[in-house]
């Protein structure tokens, strides 16, 4: 079943291209159908996972046996949560693409190719396979930004390409080194060999992998591709970059960094946590200085990704639970925020805070959802972000109490830049530009927004079902370190 999750968007990419090319159907309709089908299958995968089916690994084929490369797919609770998130956010992204009219057949083909890649990354249990999918995600991202982005799109596209390629290079060298010792790329084979290897080697490999993941997450100072990429990308691509691509890094850190090299990670945990705290504060301060709401959200996203790393570095059950929960929660919240910035340009003709003001008066739906999304992002209890942050902080406090106190101090800062933005953009007197804003809301805008709002609220009010599921993965990870 898992292979379908990759195959369907992959085939859908071609289908949507040729359907429009030969005027059978609109590329958008094909893409929407494909992404909905993928969503349905991922929900089916969830139900078979919940019924207790062994899915880790679920499917394995030999691929390039000479090099010990296998096509192994599998999901645990963490992968599955991210697979579901991917399937959902691609539907959202296609709704967000409604107004893209230029070269649509190529656009949707690239979008679906990216979905196939992401699904692969979150399910691959072979390092080579993982790497291939990792690259498959990057290439469409580059073309999408370059082809449909904002004014400085080529610059931003080139930057993300170079940067993340550089990151992948480090990661790939790490993979090769592991392969050379294990003679296989398979996750399980490597994991069996690793315990016999010497600490210095493992430490070196870990650093290579860590740099690779740190670029993708990103952690400060590996982040500088991000503000431009997120800002210049077309809205749907920003949704995907922040909602999903950043999770590749966090996922890799947990799946590969922690699971394959637990003791090594333990040795670096404090340093990583310190870097994450720096990242949290640095980007929170940077967010405070932004005029463009999209850039503000971009920096805020870096800050929240720092929390995920904090949860991982705490290396205890509740902290890792929080980190995985935050992956899902942040995915939903940031997707909503970027979706709204797209609507802002559409309806109010600007994303610049000083030109907005009184948005709620003129476009109440857009304005109130912006308030909601900001509150969700600043960690308001009752919404999903709080659950994640609380768990992360509880976990972190058990491991590194001092860093937890510091991390807590970032919360008013986050509240500060969001509320200050709301005060100027949503409330107050209506600006000249907003005076001309449109208040209409089309169904293809309302549906994804409401779905995200409901999910964020439900996960925030009653997180137990998801948390219990995630906990199975966290327990397995924590058992590796011999912790609790």
């Amino acid at each position: 079943m898992l292979a379908y999750l990759i195959a369907i968007p992959f085939l859908g990419a071609f289908a949507s291209y040729f359907a429009e090319r030969y005027e059978v159907a609109k590329a958008r309709s094909v893409a929407l159908a494909t992404s909905l089908l993928t969503l349905i299958i991922s929900i089916a995968a969830l139900s078979s996972f919940l019924s207790g089916k062994e899915m880790f690994p679920a499917q394995a084929w030999d691929w390039i046996p000479d090099f010990g490369i296998t096509f192994t797919l599998g999901v645990d609770a963490m992968s599955l949560s991210l697979v579901l998130l991917t399937a959902l956010l691609f539907v959202v992204a296609i709704f967000a693409s409604w107004n893209i009219t230029q070269n649509t057949k190529r656009y949707y083909a690239l979008l679906l190719l990216m979905e196939a890649g992401l699904m692969g990354v979150f399910m691959a249990l072979d390092l080579f396979l993982f790497y291939v999918f990792w690259e498959i995600v990057l290439i469409p991202a580059f073309f999408l930004i370059n082809g449909w982005g904002g004014r400085r799109r080529s610059y931003a596209a080139m930057k993300i390409l170079i940067y993340t390629h550089l990151g992948s290079l480090f990661m790939f060298i790490g993979f090769i080194l592991l392969y050379l010792k294990a003679g296989s790329f398979s996750f399980f084979a490597i994991s069996d060999t690793l315990s016999s290897l010497d600490a210095g080697f493992k430490s070196f490999v870990f650093l290579l992998l860590f740099i690779g993941f740190a670029f993708k997450i990103p952690l400060v100072p590996f982040h500088s591709w991000l503000p431009d990429a997120y800002t210049e990308a077309p809205t749907p691509v920003s949704v995907l970059l922040a909602g999903l691509l950043s999770k590749m890094g966090a996922y890799g850190l947990l799946r590969i960094g922690v699971t394959l090299l637990p003791e090594t990670f333990q040795g670096y945990a404090y340093a990583i946590a310190v870097l994450a705290v720096v990242s949290v504060f640095y980007s929170a301060f940077a967010a405070l200085a932004q005029r463009d709401i999209k850039r503000l959200v971009a920096f805020s996203s870096v800050s929240h990704m720092g929390f995920i790393v904090l949860g991982i570095a705490s290396l205890n059950l509740i902290g890792i639970n929080g980190a995985i929960f935050q992956m899902v929660s942040h995915g939903l919240i940031v997707a909503l925020l970027f979706f709204l910035t797209g609507m802002l340009v559409e309806k109010a003709h600007s994303r610049e805070i000083p030109y907005l003001g009184g948005l709620i008066t003129k476009a109440p739906f857009l304005g109130w959802v912006l308030v909601f999304a900001s509150l969700a992002s600043l960690g308001l209890p009752g919404l999903s972000g709080f659950v994640a942050e609380l768990s992360i902080l509880l976990g972190l406090f058990n491991s590194f109490a001092f860093l937890a106190y510091l991390a807590v101090l970032s919360l008013p800062l986050t509240a500060g830049y969001y509320l200050w933005m709301l005060q100027r953009a949503a409330f107050g007197a209506t600006s000249e530009l907003v005076e001309k804003a449109r208040s209409d809301v089309a169904w293809h805008e309302a549906v994804p927004v409401l779905v995200l709002v409901i999910l964020i609220t439900v996960l925030g009010l009653y997180p137990a079902p998801l948390m219990n599921m995630i906990s199975t993965t966290s327990q397995a990870i924590v058992a590796l370190i011999g912790g609790i």
Partner: protein, 615 residues
């Protein structure tokens, strides 16, 4: 009914959802729905309270919120929550009814009733939560509603700004509460209140002191204690009903409630801090209330001051006295706010210098205000007198310097409230007042009911209130604190004398001007300036926000754009140049080709590398 107490917060949630979804199609934006559901909630609350008298205490099994047992959310009903349930549901109900008149015709009524319903729901959940995380969630939700309702008239820049200020300042307190939760979880592995109380006596004092002080930090923010009290006066930008409900009767009591709730976790050291913060708050806010000229701000500072009295009472061990004052204050302060609201509604101004001689125009409102003021001033026999007297008695046995602080604050209470009454209701009619007329019935009836509360709630003292409230605490603690209570001849005489002196001083300044207010102002010019500038606290915070925080952010942004990014741009430019070259070589989309090439090349490299490695 006590086992169905979970219905209490549920009713207003239903009302919130109905009004949110369908309020635009309803009369008064769904106001009657709010009245009905808050009414139901009050009914269940009253029945629950009746059961508390017989059962004493009830804790439900709860539901698991986050998988682990530490996060099992249930409800805990004991005498303390009963008092709060009564205050929140009863005063809440009266204020929602009053709102039907006060908010009539406002274009945002639907939003108003939705947010008020959500507020009441969260506030009721807060007072029956049996788990600190459950409490914290409700705590933040009432903060959210406060934010939304202070900014209710969001088109006014001052309202939007005040809303943000309230949220951020209380957020500083909230993170301390959150840190307290972290400390407790790390040390006890549970956040269930009853379990914490059982474990607390065996824990090291230093841990408890730290945890309880952090929890108290949350209370300082929420209950507007010094030095985080600055948000409350600005919060008066919201509708007056909001000020009465949220910023006088209920939400601002949440901090005091938290201290009372977590009382077994407090140590003598942390209680000393609590007492002094309370005392300082009571005094500082009272001095500010004396010089303000905005009707609502005077009452707001008075609220801060009285919250300080409650905190002080808890700090010095006057547990029952603090809760008693909480109960009484809810009545007389809601009454004062609502009658002030009626005045503002009629005069269309909040500046007391525009008012005067209103008594004749608005006799019911005037009487209501008079009752509230009398009760607050601390003259017998109405409610404020009894609880203030209990507090002073408790402080008297605890520390002399604190007693002097508290006594002075009590004197000032009488001064500022009688000043307000004399200026607004007596003297010459001003221009603005001439067109004023009495408020409609839907507003005056709640005033009358609250007046009865403000008059008579003090008498519960003689019906075993102290014993009832002390039933909240573990038996040995309760015994310990019972010793502190009780009437005290000297304190009572002094208390009456101070109140009388305060009123007499104001009387000869504002009612029969023997002294000139103007002259007092000029004589104490530096002091007056200090007070008008609110001890410069707002200036200091503003400096911190704009200079320290914003400048750091500007510097980091600059570093990010010029330094870190500059490094990358170098590489970027080189690549772009390469792209240009390719463009000349190839037709078509050069960059696309380039990337495919790059991918191909790296794959080739990989394979070559692999072959070498495998061999």
């Amino acid at each position: 009914m006590i086992e169905q107490a979970w219905l209490i917060p549920l009713f207003p949630v239903i009302s919130f959802l109905i009004i949110l979804l369908f309020g635009n199609r309803m009369k008064e934006g769904g106001g009657y729905v709010a009245v009905a559901f808050v009414g139901l909630s009050m009914l269940v609350s009253l029945l629950t309270i009746r059961d508390v008298f017989s059962v004493g205490r009830y804790e439900s099994e709860g539901i698991s919120w986050l998988g682990s047992e530490a996060f099992r959310f249930g409800i805990l009903i004991d005498p303390l929550s009963a008092v709060m349930l009564f205050v929140v549901s009863f005063v809440g109900f009266l204020i929602v009814v009053y709102s039907l008149g006060y908010m009539h015709g406002d274009p945002g009524v639907q939003r108003y009733y939705a947010e008020i319903s959500l507020f009441i729901a969260s506030m009721l959940a807060l007072v029956i939560a049996n788990n600190l995380v459950f409490l914290f969630i409700s705590w933040e939700l009432v903060g959210l509603c406060s934010y939304l309702l202070i900014g209710f008239w969001y088109r006014k820049p001052s309202a939007a700004s005040a809303a943000k200020k309230a949220f951020l300042v209380t957020r500083v307190g909230d993170i301390m509460l959150l840190a307290g939760i972290l400390v407790l979880y790390a040390n006890f592995g549970t956040l269930n209140l009853s379990e914490l109380f059982e474990l607390a006596p065996g824990a090291p004092l230093a841990t408890l002191t730290l945890a309880s002080l952090l929890l108290f930090g949350g209370a300082v923010g929420k209950s507007a204690q010094f030095p985080l009290h600055v948000w409350l006066p600005d919060a008066m930008e919201g509708p007056t009903t909001v000020s009465a409900l949220i910023h006088a009767a209920t939400m601002v009591k949440a901090g005091v409630y938290l201290v009372a709730r977590a009382y077994p976790l407090f140590t003598p050291d942390s209680l000393l801090v609590v007492a002094w913060i309370g005392g300082i708050t009571a005094l500082i806010a009272a001095t500010l209330a004396v010089v303000m000229t905005d009707l609502k701000r005077v009452i707001a500072y008075s609220t801060v001051s009285h919250l300080g009295f409650m905190t002080l009472a808890l700090g010095v061990g006057g547990y029952a006295a603090g809760i008693f004052h909480l109960l009484n204050h809810s009545f007389f302060k809601a009454l004062l706010f609502l009658s002030a609201g009626a005045v503002i509604h009629a005069v269309h101004s909040q500046d007391i210098r525009d008012m005067g001689g209103l008594w004749k125009r608005m006799p019911i409102t005037g009487t209501a205000f008079f009752i509230g003021a009398w009760s607050l001033s601390g003259l017998p026999p109405w409610s404020g007198f009894w609880s203030k007297d209990d507090i002073l008695a408790a402080v008297y046995g605890y520390s002399t310097p604190l007693f002097i602080v508290a006594a002075f604050a009590a004197l000032l209470s009488a001064v500022y409230i009688s000043r307000l009454f004399f200026i607004v209701f007596t003297g010459k009619e001003s221009e603005a007042v001439r067109h004023a007329h009495e408020a409609p019935r839907v507003m005056t009836v709640p005033l009358m009911i609250l007046s009865l509360g403000a008059l008579f709630s003090g008498f519960v003292r003689f019906a075993g209130f102290e014993e009832f409230v002390l039933g909240t605490l573990p038996a040995e603690l309760a015994e310990h604190f019972a010793a502190h209570e009780g009437g005290h001849g000297f304190v009572m005489t002094l208390s009456i004398a101070l109140a009388a002196l305060g009123i007499a001083l104001t009387g000869i300044t504002y009612y029969k001007p023997v002294l000139s207010a103007e002259k007092i102002r000029t004589t104490f010019k530096p002091l007056h300036t200090l007070l008008i500038d609110r001890y410069y606290l707002d200036h200091i915070y503003l400096f911190f926000a704009t200079k320290v925080i914003k400048d750091t952010s500007t510097i980091i942004d600059a570093i990010d754009s010029y330094f870190i990014d500059g490094l990358v741009n170098g590489i970027g430019k080189a690549t772009a140049k390469a792209g240009e070259v390719m463009r000349r070589i190839q037709t078509g989309i050069a960059q696309d080709y380039a990337s495919w090439l790059l991918l191909g090349a790296s794959l080739l490299l990989i394979i070559a590398r692999l072959r070498g490695g495998a061999a």
